[in-house]
């Protein structure tokens, strides 16, 4: 692994940890959902760097695509209800 790749994966790891922290710090639910999706997005780039494009595609499609929208969908439902 070249130096550029190493620096990039360190950066990605830091970004993942940062997004994960934002997701659990709980400022607002929408921001948490977006941050959790960002963790998956960074993870899928990481998988590409680690030479696993198949896993990266699954992670990007399910982890950061479907799951994020599913959470938003549920969030909309919960907000639409009368009592929490």
């Amino acid at each position: 692994m070249s130096n550029v790749m190493f620096a990039m994966s360190l950066l990605l790891a830091a970004a993942m940890i940062g997004s994960a922290y934002v997701a659990i710090s709980g400022k607002s639910l929408s921001i948490s959902i977006l941050a959790a999706g960002a963790v998956s997005l960074f993870a899928s780039v990481m998988f590409v760097i680690l030479a696993a494009p198949d896993v990266a595609m699954t992670e990007a499609a399910i982890g950061s695509g479907l799951t994020t929208f599913l959470f938003f969908f549920v969030l909309g439902r919960v907000r639409g209800a009368k009592d929490d």
Partner: protein, 233 residues
């Protein structure tokens, strides 16, 4: 206070465990026995350019059948649970907010492209990275975009369930054909291996992965429709 202390202790313990793993890490200089076998024999055995696909669909085909079954059960259970909260179609539903020009035009432009890309991903699974599960998830995200634009949009439930069950049935039938005509269950050599790297090559792998893609896409889409149909109490 005690809770925070316990969390801290847990974190430090985990950190110690993982750091010992990290410090003892030596990168492999050569492939291990199983990986060496796959790297050497995949092309002659299966004719697939993508080794990952060859492993998923042929060498470990039975596990993939199990995975597909788990996904099928999940979709069934989601539909069972949500059917309690089904909105009756006779009552006029509360009209949702209009999606807006941007989302409507954008989705009309993007949905066919996303569908096409999903089909490309699962049809070319034996040549390029990707395959049935990834392609199915991409197809389902087109469904999701459609539902975001218009939550009341419905695709015939009969079509989705027919697609799902027919592809599942053919998947098992191809597996049994492999048992009869070739080396074992889900053996891909029931069809000719063809030229290496061509679209119609690698025996039954493209057929199996197309079936898996359709099945996964139909299952995820039916979950979306069920969620969208459910009524909040």
């Amino acid at each position: 206070m005690i809770k925070k202390f316990a969390t801290l202790v847990l974190l430090v313990g985990l950190g110690a465990m993982f750091s010992s793993l990290l410090l003892g890490y030596v990168p492999d200089t050569e492939l291990n026995f199983t990986a060496r076998y796959y790297a050497d024999n995949t092309v002659t055995d299966t004719g697939a350019a993508n080794i990952v696909t060859a492993i998923i669909v042929t060498y470990r085909g039975l596990d993939t059948l199990g995975e597909v079954t788990v996904l099928f059960l999940t979709a069934t259970i989601v539909s069972l649970i949500l059917s309690q909260a089904r909105r009756s179609d006779a009552l006029p539903a509360r009209k949702p907010l209009a999606a807006g020009e941007l989302l409507e035009t954008g989705s009309r432009l993007l949905i066919p492209l996303i569908l096409l890309f999903g089909v490309y991903v699962f049809v070319g699974g034996h040549l390029t990275p990707g395959g049935g599960f990834q392609g199915g998830a991409i197809v389902a995200s087109a469904t999701l975009l459609m539902l975001l634009t218009n939550p009341l949009k419905r695709v015939s439930h009969r079509l989705i369930s027919a697609l799902e069950s027919v592809s599942g049935l053919f998947y098992v039938v191809i597996g049994i054909l492999g048992l009869v005509f070739a080396g074992g269950f889900l053996d891909n050599r029931i069809l000719g291996l063809g030229t290496f790297g061509a679209l119609f090559s690698a025996g039954a792998i493209p057929v199996i992965y197309t079936l898996i893609g359709l099945k996964v896409g139909a299952e995820f889409s039916s979950m979306m429709f069920n969620l969208s149909k459910s009524e909040d109490h």
